[in-house]
């Protein structure tokens, strides 16, 4: 009787141990794992094979690190590189259409970290789909994003290489520091006037291109100011995010013409795809900005 009891207990213990080891084999210690910007640990069994990207910059990064062919879904705004257009769209992504994303049966969804997206991520996780939330507001956040996407796709080396390129861009000094750099203002709205301040991507681009953002003293990424302030600071150029070169509608209004740059029609039209958000083409954006500053009369 006692020997039977001991043997049963021993068998039970062995069974438990076997199960534990088996579980250990499925433990994510072998698969790629990162901590995303929402503080969550994102662990995959194997590198992601079917990826949905919900931000154009992430789409660009994925293509840049050689994982573009694994994309099964993108937003309607993702138009670079041209190969991305072949990937099916899952809507404009604001807010993300959870059903459309799920229909692509991805094993990883890459989202920009925001309140709306946090909710969408939670819903996708409930469906068993892994999600990663990444910040991408400032130039400095490109490198960590590239690194982590590299890990999650098994393209770690490519990811690190892109990250290093981004880091070097961040730490470089302006291409040609001049004693009196060209000044500009980034005007995103006219009524009321909204300008871009320090800490934002555009402000950094301006600095790297050797230009001075006249509102660099405002700590916030964007702020409302009066026309008078813009006129008083008298920037050489007014930079607007626009895919066309049409003069903005406020250019003809008498109160705006107090600003010399408006009067002289010194506008810089910066395409949204390249300048709207940090992306792997940041270096190209800096060069393009520099070129336009040098060539616009």
């Amino acid at each position: 009787m006692r020997r039977w009891t001991v043997r049963t207990h021993l068998a039970g213990l062995v069974a438990l141990a076997a199960v534990a080891c088996a579980r250990g084999e499925h433990a994510p210690a072998a698969g790629p794992a990162v901590t995303d910007d929402a503080g969550r640990r994102v662990a995959l069994a194997v590198p992601a094979r079917r990826i949905v990207s919900l931000l154009p910059s992430f789409t660009e990064i994925l293509f840049a690190i050689g994982a573009g062919h694994r994309l099964v879904g993108r937003t309607a705004w993702c138009d670079y590189p041209p190969a991305a257009l072949a990937v099916p769209s899952v809507g404009d992504g604001i807010p993300p259409n959870v059903e459309a994303v799920a229909a692509r049966r991805p094993d990883l969804v890459v989202l920009y970290r925001s309140g709306q997206n946090a909710t969408a991520a939670e819903q996708l996780e409930r469906l068993g789909i892994r999600t990663v939330l990444l910040d991408l507001n400032r130039l400095e956040e490109l490198a960590p994003a590239a690194r982590r996407l590299g890990v999650l796709t098994g393209r770690t080396a490519a990811g690190d290489s892109l990250a290093r390129a981004m880091d070097s861009l961040v730490s470089q000094s302006p291409e040609s520091p001049t004693p009196s750099p060209v000044s500009l203002v980034f005007l995103v709205w006219d009524n009321p006037p909204i300008v871009i301040g320090a800490g934002s991507y555009l402000d950094r681009l301006a600095g790297l291109a050797g230009a001075r953002n006249v509102f660099h003293d405002i700590a916030a990424p964007s702020a409302q100011v009066s026309i008078e302030t813009i006129a008083a600071r008298n920037p050489d150029f007014i930079a607007v995010l626009s895919d066309t070169a049409a003069p903005p509608r406020y250019a003809g209004r008498p109160e705006w013409r107090v600003v010399p740059a408006v009067r002289k029609r010194r506008f810089l039209f910066l395409p949204g795809g390249l300048f709207g958000r940090p992306g792997p083409r940041a270096r190209e954006a800096v060069r393009e900005l520099r070129r336009r500053l040098d060539t616009t009369p």
């Binding site: 995103v188 009321p192 100011v225 009066s226 006129a231 008083a232 109160e255 107090v258």
Partner: protein
């Protein structure tokens, strides 16, 4: 004597608006500066006109609905204006005047709707129906606005809401001239209704017995006050508290007879709003606060003070 003080305050406020600003111009440069002539002066004048319009509209509406808590924006006009503005941006309507015109049309649409509701079932613009109708129309417009915002592109519409919060950054001589051409008619109508409005305070039946044509008076005052408010919103967004607090302040000092109350409400509203705009421009320089926020921040303590006086008496 009180009038002298009021006139002095008006001049002082206008002067401050001209002298003070983020550009920090030296005094000698002021007369010739384009900033003063093209930016500060039209802006100060417009703020004055809009504040005056809101003060008069608020006074008239409080008499019309016989409710001291009435504000020009209680009648659904702000919801209508917001809807118009958001629609203009969502539909990408062209031209610099698309936004103010759309806001005006939206406000007038809301006014017409509330007016129609107020006449339903022979109600003859019963104040309670006007107020309830205004709340309902405002909520309805807000719902459509939210739907538009959720369906369309997000960033531009966020800026539309900033505009809606009230501001004079778009002030120009053109807007000033439009206000100067437009406002005198509804203002004149309201001032001519001053004595009948005094009578209306007794109640509609007693007012009729004292010679007021109450039916006509209610319609005329409602339309004139709403049109004034619609114009104010179109040029400056939704600026709260001015129309609510100014009538009470003026009643404290000048009593409740509208012949005196309406002109002083115009001046007081103008002074308050011009001063609020100057603060909005300078307090967080180089940034700017929306004027509607400044009037709310100033208006709430003033309103609390008035409430205390009210309950004490």
């Amino acid at each position: 004597m009180k009038y002298v003080v009021l006139a002095g305050a008006a001049l002082a406020t206008l002067a401050a608006a001209l002298l003070v600003g983020p550009a920090n111009l030296p005094f000698a440069d002021l007369p010739g500066s384009a900033i003063v002539w093209q930016l500060r002066l039209p802006r100060a004048v417009l703020a004055f006109l809009v504040g005056g319009a809101l003060g008069v509209a608020g006074t008239s509406l409080q008499a019309l609905v016989r409710n001291p808590l009435a504000d020009p924006f209680l009648l659904g006009l702000s919801g209508g204006a917001g809807l118009g503005a958001v629609a203009a941006i969502a539909l990408h309507l062209p031209g610099p005047w698309a936004l103010p015109l759309a806001a005006f049309v939206g406000a007038v649409g809301a006014m017409a709707l509330v007016y129609r509701l107020g006449l339903m079932g022979g109600a003859e613009l019963d104040p309670r129906i006007l107020l309830l109708g205004g709340v309902a129309v405002g909520a309805f417009a807000a719902a459509i606005t939210t739907a538009l915002v959720s369906l369309a592109q997000a960033t531009e519409l966020r800026n539309a809401f900033l505009w809606l919060w009230g501001g004079f950054s778009g002030a120009s001589w053109t807007t000033v001239l439009v206000m100067l051409a437009y406002a005198p008619l509804p203002l004149g109508v309201l001032v001519a209704s001053a004595r009948p409005l005094d009578l209306l305070a007794l109640g509609e039946e007693p007012a009729q017995y004292l010679g007021a044509d109450v039916r006509r008076l209610k319609r005329v005052v409602y339309l004139a006050a709403s049109l004034l408010t619609a114009a104010a919103v179109a040029v400056a967004g939704v600026i709260g508290f001015v129309g609510l607090v100014v009538p009470h302040l003026c009643r404290l000092v000048w009593g409740r007879l509208h012949r005196t109350l309406l002109p002083t409400a115009f001046l007081t509203g103008g002074i308050l709003l011009a001063a609020a705009d100057t603060l909005a421009r300078t307090v967080v320089a180089p940034r700017e606060l929306p004027v509607g926020i400044v009037t709310a921040l100033l208006g709430v303590p003033v309103f609390a003070f008035l409430l205390r006086r009210w309950t004490v008496s």
